[in-house]
Subunit: 136 residues, 2 copies
DNA sequence: ACGAATTACATAACTAGGTTATATGTTGGG
DNA sequence: CCCAACATATAACCTAGTTATGTAATTCGT
């Protein structure tokens, strides 16, 4: 198989699976989940988060405000820089994130279980390569 | 690997790759592209399209209007049912869709080519299983 | 064959989640 | 110590969706 055809087929398949996961799950915004996932590994600045998520800084400012309104994150002043804030995930945010991930996993698990063993094995063998694709 | 862990890892990886394809590509809406792709296989009613894309009927009505404004699709009266319209893709719509797919493919191809041969093989072997996941 | 219910689409009013341009306060280098 | 650069916030706007409702066409029961 050419890399051209592989790329075309893979793009289509991945897009379709992602659509499945988005539509089946979660009353909650994709970017919000991704931010919370980032925050699990430690506090971040607004600007960092905006760059991670490829949204504008004002977009991230309002998103963080929404996260605060929901009680999933909070702003903390940065002791070393009066301009900056450190956004941290709350316990409630961690709980919500875990539930969201579990729901997403469950959507896929039901379908993975309908596959033939060889297909499951093929997917398992491909996960590492898929992850490699996004390592910029 | 348990199907649980496979599902969790796969969901995360697929979501990340999809995000890559969305952000890197295309000034044009994901749902619009998906509708045009559907229309490639023949005319559809507004209601059908809404069901396919999991949006509301008014949402699809406005989306089809946008597609018409861009010249990518047009409404045709249904000769057998005065209430209905048949949405058809235009030549310009087909061209745009092909370009969008090519751009998306190119984003992925650059990254696929950086993989080791064994990783590419693993992805190629997994495409069929990925496609199976979204079959109804 | 006619009226009621249903169907297909459109319109209106609203919301979420972004955008760019700009303002405000903070910091660090020459 | 001042000034450019930085971190965030605010304002005004836009796109793509939602629900509720309106309008015209069709179907179905009697």
């Amino acid at each position: 198989m050419t890399t051209e055809k592989l790329s075309a087929d893979l793009a289509a398949a991945v897009t379709d699976v992602a659509r499945l996961l988005i539509r089946e799950g979660l009353h909650v915004n994709r970017t919000a989940l991704s931010v919370l996932a980032t925050l699990r590994s430690g506090p971040r600045r607004i600007t960092d988060l905006a760059a991670c998520e490829f949204v504008s800084q004002p977009g991230m400012t309002t998103l963080v405000s929404r996260l605060e309104d929901e009680g999933w994150a909070k702003r903390q002043p940065d002791p070393t820089d009066g301009r900056a804030v450190n956004v941290v995930i709350t316990k409630a945010g961690e709980r919500m994130l875990e539930q969201a991930i579990a729901a997403r996993t469950e959507v896929l698990r039901k379908r993975v279980e309908r596959l033939a063993p060889a297909e499951r094995r093929a997917l398992a063998d491909a996960v590492a390569a898929l992850e490699m694709l996004t390592r910029d």
